[in-house]
Each structure stands twice: as C-alpha cells, then as structure tokens.
C-alpha cells in the first residue's frame, strides 16, 4: 500500500438506501460505513442480492435508489448533492456489472464526449486517437470496436473490457468496479486485471472492487477485504479474509445476519405505534 499523495478520499457513513416507492419501498442498504483512500484497493465480497450493486449505484447516483440516511463525501464534498454527471466529473467512476447498450452512439464518439466532459476541454485529436488505440491494444480489443455502437452486440467479456477502457481513459480518483470479473474467461480476466493494475500503478486511484468470487483477487491484490451481507459490512480484514471466504463461503455470515435481522424485526414490533 502506497501513501496517498493527492489525498482523495471517499467516505461513506451510515448509508441507508431503499428501492421502490411508497409501501413497496424496501431497505437494501442498512448502514454502510466505508472509507476508500487514493492508493488503496478495497475488495467488497458478498453473496447474491446482498446489496453490492446497490451500494455502487447509490454512490454513482442512479435515480432508482433513494438515500434515506447517511452521507457520502469525496474529499469532503457532498456526493449525494451532486447530479450523476457531476459525480463523474468530481472523479468517481463506476464500471457497471451490466453495461448499457446505446444504439446509434459510436464508441469513439462516446469516449471523446466523456473525456471532454471529465477533463473540461476536448482532448487534442491526434494524441487522443493515439491514446485510445494504445489502451484498446492493452486490453486486447479490436480497433474496430471504436466504430461500433456503445455496447451494442458486445459479448459479456467485451462489455467488461470496454468498461475498463473507459476507466483507463477517464482516469478517475475513485473507481468502483462492480463484478468486472463476472462472465470473463481466464484470458479475459488476466487482460482486464492488468488494465486495472496499470491504473493502480500509474497514479493515486482508490479502487473499490466488488466481487462474488476470490478469483480476481489473485490478479488484483486488495489491501482490505470487506464482507458484505444483507446491506452492511459485517467483517473487515486484510487479504487473508479473502482466503477464509474462499474456503468457508458466506454461510456463517448469512446465518448471523438473518438472526440479527429477525431480532431487529422483533424489537421493532414491540415498540408501540
């Protein structure tokens, strides 16, 4: 772990998030605390449906999620008060678990528009084209992808490479990678991980690596591992925690969390209305 130099820090405090409206509203995040500093890599590991993507989307500002409590700040700035695009321009990046197809918008146009927005000015065409080509080559992407429409007809692996390509070019301060490893074969996993590692080596980025499996952690070594169950972090540790999860799975945590949830529910029912 290197010492942070640009000082970027993402702080999540007691974050509560619901999905759905009115009576259908369902609390997914139930008090998340997490601090990610530039130069650090944090792995968040948890079972399906535990709320990992909800955390990622809530930080990025997806309108489907309602923040009902807590704070998220980036270098002290209130992230939750920012629009989606402002968050990205402030230095947040989310590599999505399910990247969206945008028909009729070419990858090259999209990348250049995004880079212009994030950097505040249009990148010089000549160096830009060179950079894009180099990064695509680094991710073993066919240059023809530049002329295709964003994510349209991309395979699962191609979509993930395209997400990492964007991260490479937009150079965020904090990158959240939501199951970037899922759907990748061994070669693709290596290529994508190397892309992430180049970003880590180059600069002072903080990485929040969301994953279900320990597989990717063999390529991208985390500094911290957080176990995420039922909408909160239930255990934290170093890389050795990943080994433990590899061997024992999430069962024990899920059981604890269920017991706690029913205890809370029982307590809530006792309170007179």
């Amino acid at each position: 772990m290197t010492t942070p130099q640009n000082g970027s820090v993402l702080e999540i405090r007691d974050l509560h998030v619901t999905v759905g409206e009115g009576d259908d509203a369902k609390e997914i995040l139930r008090g998340v605390d997490l601090t990610v500093r530039a130069g650090e890599t944090h792995a968040i590991m948890g079972p399906n449906g535990s709320g990992k993507s909800t955390l990622a989307y809530s930080i990025a500002g997806h309108p489907k999620y309602t923040i009902t409590g807590g704070t998220v700040t980036l270098d002290g700035e209130d992230v939750l008060a920012m629009t989606v695009d402002e968050r990205a321009r402030a230095g947040l990046f989310l590599a999505m678990q399910y990247p969206v197809e945008v028909p009729g918008v070419s990858v090259s146009n999209f990348l250049r528009t995004a880079a212009t927005a994030v950097k505040g000015e249009a990148p010089k065409l000549r160096t830009w084209v060179k950079d894009v080509k180099a990064e695509m080559a680094g991710l073993e992407m066919d240059p023809a992808f530049a002329e295709r429409n964003v994510n349209e007809g991309f395979s699962g692996g191609e979509k993930k490479r395209h997400e990492i390509l964007q991260m490479r070019l937009l150079k965020p301060r904090i990158a959240i990678l939501d199951e970037t490893d899922s759907g990748l074969d061994v070669d693709a996993l290596r290529v994508v991980s190397e892309g992430v590692n180049r970003t880590r080596a180059e600069g002072e980025v903080g990485v929040l690596l969301i994953t279900h499996y320990t597989r990717i952690l063999r390529y991208i070594k985390p500094d911290f591992v957080h176990v995420f169950v039922a909408g909160r972090v239930v255990e934290e540790g170093g890389p050795e925690l990943a080994e433990k999860l590899e061997n024992e799975g999430y069962a024990a945590y899920v059981k604890d969390s269920n017991e706690q949830a029913s205890a809370e529910k029982a307590a809530a029912e006792v309170v007179p209305s």
Binding site: V84, D85, F93, M96, A114
Partner: protein, 430 residues
C-alpha cells in the same frame, strides 16, 4: 386498366421480356373492382399452413369518385385530421406549381408527358381518393429517366419549394430507371405549400435506386403523397423518407415486385412538434418469389398534440415463396401530450418463406441509457442529444449523401433545443 396491362407495359419498357408473365399473379393489387381476387380462402390448393387470413384486396382506381368522399371513419383515413386535409380532398383544380430547382447529372433526362400517355396508364393505380385526385388533377407528369446501365456521378436532386398555401398544387412525377443502372434521386421539399404529389419509381431489372424524400416544409404546409415503387427482377429499391416540417404530412408508400429476386428497403424518420400530424402508411405486396423487404421507421415526438401515425402493411401472397421480410417502427415520446400510433400488419399466405417479422415499440427516453452516459461525466442535456441523435442516425445514414445527412441531422438537433432541462424532466426509473 387491367393488371395484365400493367405488367406488359412495364415489361416492354424496363424489364426483361417474359418477366411480367413469369411473375404469375398480377403485380398490382386487383385493379378497379375492389373485390377480393385470388386471396379467397380455399383457393389455396398447395401444401403449407393455412393462410393467416384473407385480407380484402386493396381497392385501387384512377377515378376519384370511385372512392367516395372520406368521412374520417374509413380505415385509411381514421387517423388523419380531416379538417386539415380537407382542402386537398376537396380536389379543386389548380394550375399552381411548386418552384423547381433541379440538379441533373449527365445522362439523366427530365421531360414531361401528357395525361393520356401510356406511361401513366401503366403505373400502379391510386389507393385512395387523394392519390386518385392527384393523378387526375396533375394533367400529365414530369418524368426523370435514367438510362440502362448508367452510373450517375452524383444524385439527381429536385428541390421543390412551395411559394404559398392559397391554392393546392397537384403534381405527378415518374422516375424511370433502366436495367442495371445505379441512381439516387432526392426530392427536397421546402417552403409553404398545400401539395399533393404522386411519385412512381420504376426500377428496372438489376437496377439499384435510392429515392430520398425530405419534408422540411414551413409551418402551415399540408402535404399528401403516394409513392409507388415497382421493383424489377433482382433490383434494389431503397426509399428514405425524412419528415420534419409542415402542419400535416400524410405519405403512402407502396411497393410491388415485377420479378423475383427484388429487394425493397424502406427507411423513414419523422419528428413531430406541437400540433404537427405526420402519417406514414406503407404497403409492401409480395406476390412473386424470392423477394426481400426491410422496413425501418423511427420517429420522435414532443409538445402538445404532436401526433404521428405509422402503418406498416406487408402481405405475402401464396405465390411469394422464399420471401424474407422484416419491419420495425420505433417511437420516442419526449414529452407529455404527444401521441404515436403504430400499427404493423403482416399477412402471410404461404409457409414457404425465408422469414417474416415485425416489431413496434413506443416509449420514453431509456433512463438506463441516460444514466450510463451521465455516469461518464456527460451532462443530461448532451446525453439526451446523443441518444436522440443516435436514435435517428442509424436510419439517416442510409441516405448515403453526407451533406444531406448532415443537414437533416442538423435540423433534427435544432428541434431538440426545445427539450426541457434536467430539472423539469428528472431522470426517472424505467
């Protein structure tokens, strides 16, 4: 006029000898009588699945009175605001003209023919009263001829400008493209007009023809039109319709095949603002084997009482074995108060086809797309423009003329200036 006449005339002028007779069934919908022709159920003695229905033959006639006066309840008029189209349907004769400004590449001939010319008698017949009035009132036709095997160095461009809406302008155009020629013809409509125009495109065997019709009429304009394409053996006809301007635009595009192996690609984009009515009705009649049709129309609507109508009729007759057809209409409703009607209709009367399908979707902005773009730092307004631009670009690119594509995309983007900002129209969950 009889259907046999049609094929003979066309075969004599444009198509290889014998193609008309090989084609078997008439290549026009049964003429004049309005009764069901060969489509009666039970008439199918060959194998294959039972027909999906027995649609009545489309009634066609050159006599406006044969159609009666539309009330607005008829299938073909039920979406049209009758009050606004009435000045055309009244059918008052007129000598008024659009102003023509033409660009004709070498080898292309522009002439005119009288009303009694055999060329006109051989055209597909009008399918509604307005088209019949147009044929009757235009008193002849302008004819663009592209000789066989010609390769034009640039598109044929006819800029047709309206100079006022006092009188109705009636116009008939025939585009005749000889065998194996390659040509693009652009009809660029602008200005203020009440205009009813018939356009017949006769695509010779093996020819490749693109017809672009751009409607950038001034506000207050009314435009009714019938387009008829007769596609020769192994020929390709591509039509790109771009309707942006005018108060009311109602365009009927019909395609028939004069021989096997033909391809028709019908592309369209439209963008209706407050109170604009834009109606596109398509009819692709597969009556000969091994032909292909592909329809892609996309529209956007914004503002109170913006109304678009898309009707896509495709018929695959029992004789049209080996047919491949697909039609798609998508509408993007940008604001409340706008209405998009979309009616695909596929009649399949033989099981021996390569493929047939249709799809229609009308919806709001895809919020997931907007979120994705915004999550990369792109502001919501720019993201909307990118999405709408992308929505239309994949159709407009089929024009194949970069300057015209840029101009039309520019017009579309200018229209987006009126979109509410992010605060007025928050990105909502899908």
């Amino acid at each position: 006029m009889s259907a046999e006449n049609t094929t003979t005339t066309l075969a004599g002028e444009l198509f290889a000898p014998g193609v008309g007779t090989q084609a078997g069934p008439p290549t026009t919908p049964a003429a004049g009588t309005g009764t069901a022709g060969e489509a009666t159920p039970g008439a199918h003695s060959h194998g294959g699945p039972a027909p999906t229905g027995s649609p009545a033959e489309r009634f066609t006639s050159t006599d406006p009175e044969a159609f009666g006066a539309p009330t607005g309840r008829e299938e073909e008029w039920r979406f049209t605001p009758m009050r606004r189209i009435r000045p055309l349907l009244d059918g008052a004769p007129s000598d008024a003209h659009l102003q023509w400004d033409t660009d004709l590449p070498d080898g292309v001939e522009l002439t005119s023919v009288e009303a009694d010319d055999p060329l006109l008698k051989g055209l597909p017949e009008p399918v509604d009263r307005l088209a019949a009035l147009t044929r009757a009132r235009s008193g002849g036709a302008a004819v663009v001829r592209v000789p066989a095997e010609a390769r034009l160095d640039r598109p044929v461009t006819l800029r047709l400008s309206g100079t006022g809406a006092e009188e109705v302008v009636w116009g008939q155009l025939v585009v005749e493209v000889g065998a194996f020629a390659e040509a693009t013809v652009v009809l660029d409509h602008a200005g203020l007009a009440r205009y009813s125009g018939g356009v017949a495109v006769l695509v010779g065997d093996g020819a490749q023809v693109t017809l672009v019709a751009a409607q950038e009429w001034a506000r207050g304009s009314v435009h009714g039109g019938q387009f008829d394409a007769v596609v020769g053996r192994d020929a390709t006809f591509r039509q790109v319709v771009v309707t942006l301007g005018g108060d009311l635009v109602r365009l009927v595009s019909n395609v028939q095949y004069a021989g096997p192996g033909g391809t028709a690609e019908l592309f369209g984009v439209y963008f209706a603002d407050e109170t604009q009515h834009q109606e596109h009705r398509l009819w692709v009649d597969h009556a000969v084997p091994n032909c292909t049709s592909n329809v892609l129309y996309k529209g956007a609507l914004q503002g109170e009482d913006a109304h678009t109508v898309w009707i896509g009729d495709v018929r695959i007759r029992p004789t049209a074995t080996g047919t491949s057809t697909y039609e798609l209409n998508r509408n993007l409703v940008l604001t409340d108060g706008a209405r998009a009607d979309s009616v695909p209709n596929l009649e399949i009367e033989t099981g021996e086809i390569v493929g047939a399908g249709h799809a229609s979707a009308t919806g709001r902005f895809d919020d997931e797309q907007l979120f994705y773009l915004c999550s990369r730092g792109i502001d919501a307004e720019t993201a909307r423009r990118l999405v709408v631009r992308g929505f239309f670009a994949d159709v407009v690119q089929h024009i194949g003329i970069p300057e015209l594509q840029d101009r039309l995309m520019g017009s579309i983007e200018a229209r987006l200036g009126g979109l509410p900002g992010l605060d007025d129209q928050p990105v909502e969950p899908a």
